[in-house]
């Protein structure tokens, strides 16, 4: 009885981290895997309305990064509406230590996290070429 309860708990804990994989995301994911090897890149978050994929060098930061990524997309949408800027192509948020590049590709929202001094241009070009 105890054993069953324990296994249920483990399932419940791991559930949010399990990534649902869909075909359109797979191509993007393979490109992101490539981007992850770029100098200074520390990980990415890829999500759409049904699934998400997160790959970060420091997994303890997943929630913080997910929140900042989501906030950036929300802010981008609102700014775009306010100034009538139409579709947001990219958002770069630079902090003192790190920067985040957010790109919308169809229904997929990609956030790539990198060191502040890393070049985001190459990553942006790669993502926009998809």
């Amino acid at each position: 009885m105890n054993k069953r309860k324990k296994s249920e708990q483990i399932v419940a804990e791991t559930e949010p981290i399990v990534m649902e994989e869909t075909t359109p995301m797979n191509n993007l994911k393979s490109d992101l895997e490539e981007i992850k090897d770029y100098e200074g890149v520390i990980g990415y978050i890829l999500r759409n309305s049904t699934s998400a994929a997160i790959d970060l060098k420091d997994p303890t930061k997943i929630i913080e990064y997910a929140i900042v990524s989501s906030s950036a997309f929300d802010a981008g949408k609102e700014l775009s509406d306010l100034f009538d800027l139409d579709t947001v192509k990219s958002i770069i948020v630079e902090g003192k230590e790190l920067k985040m590049l957010c790109v919308t590709l169809d229904e997929n929202k990609v956030s790539v996290f990198m060191d502040k001094n890393a070049s985001h241009e190459k990553t942006l070009r790669k993502l926009q070429a998809l």
């Binding site: 930061k61 913080e64 990064y65 929140i67 900042v68 906030s71 950036a72 929300d74 802010a75 981008g76 609102e78 700014l79 775009s80 306010l82 100034f83 009538d84 800027l85 139409d86 579709t87 947001v88 192509k89 990219s90 958002i91 770069i92 948020v93 630079e94 902090g95 003192k96 230590e97 790190l98 920067k99 985040m100 996290f113 502040k116």
Partner: protein, 273 residues
């Protein structure tokens, strides 16, 4: 220089920048707390308030990347840039074809230069910067009361409220306003350490003495950011390793009274008799 003049100078600067960079459609500045500092003539206040609200969530959460320095948004019809200059956020909205290198060169050079210049002329709007030597009104509560009174009784009894307050404020016309320093609390202890005396930089004490001439500064008013305050004796720091580091050495008893710990910031000003 008061905030109004400061804001006016920045507004003019933003309008001038727009003339040399016609691709800038909107530009404005606001503080971390959302207070609008200045805006060009094309940007209505309502829009800025909406922008501040839109950015609020991001600016709150962005600490995961370290404190914010820059945000750039590119869309199919234009671009939005936000830069952090001192304690201010400076936002520019440009057309799609804008040469961002040129815009950034102009804005990132001109605006900080203007701010530095204004800061030199009159540091009033930088009151919140803890590294600065601050000057606050001698009777902030009286000023607050005066403002409230003016608001509440403007039409009914304005004179009865204002006159006594004015009298109080003007009661020491020859004394300069006491400078307020923000200092970091350090512990001090030992058998021979008086429990009612704090120690601060001798240099600060000398500055105060210079400011008040013959008046000897023997006591200071200490206020915490939690609102606790006390008055106690003051002496110069003896230990040279604490000199010039912006600290106030405080015995246990005073720390307990103020409910603060080592490492916290307090506001300290001379108690002029």
């Amino acid at each position: 220089m008061d905030d109004e003049v400061y804001s006016f100078a920045l507004k003019n600067a933003l309008n001038e920048i727009q003339k040399i960079c016609p691709d800038i459609r909107n530009s404005f500045m606001f503080k971390e707390d959302g207070e609008i500092i200045a805006a060009d003539e094309n940007t209505p206040e309502r829009t800025i308030v909406n922008v501040v609200n839109a950015l609020d969530g991001l600016l709150e959460k962005v600490n995961a990347l370290g404190s914010i320095e820059f945000v750039a948004l590119e869309s199919s019809k234009g671009k939005v840039n936000l830069s952090c200059i001192n304690d201010y956020y400076f936002v520019t909205v440009t057309s799609k074809k804008a040469d961002l290198n040129y815009v950034n060169t102009v804005t990132r050079v001109l605006i900080p230069t203007i701010i530095k210049l204004l800061e030199k002329i009159g540091p009033a709007p930088f009151k919140n910067n803890p590294s600065r030597f601050e000057i606050e009104p001698e009777h902030p509560r009286i000023e607050e009361a005066e403002a409230t009174a003016k608001r509440d009784f403007e039409e009914t009894v304005p004179e009865t409220v204002e006159k006594p307050l004015e009298h109080e404020v003007k009661s020491e016309p020859l004394l300069p306003e006491p400078p307020v320093n923000q200092l970091i609390v350090e512990n001090i202890g030992g058998l021979l350490v008086p429990s009612d005396t704090v120690r601060i930089d001798n240099e600060t004490l000398l500055q105060w003495n210079e400011l008040y001439g013959d008046r000897n500064i023997e006591e200071v008013d200490i206020e915490t950011f939690g609102g606790k305050s006390t008055r106690c004796k003051v002496k110069p720091i003896k230990d040279s390793k604490y000199e010039g580091r912006g600290v106030i050495q405080m015995p246990d008893k005073i720390r307990t009274t103020l409910e603060i710990k080592k490492g916290e910031l307090v506001r300290v000003k001379p108690a002029v008799q």
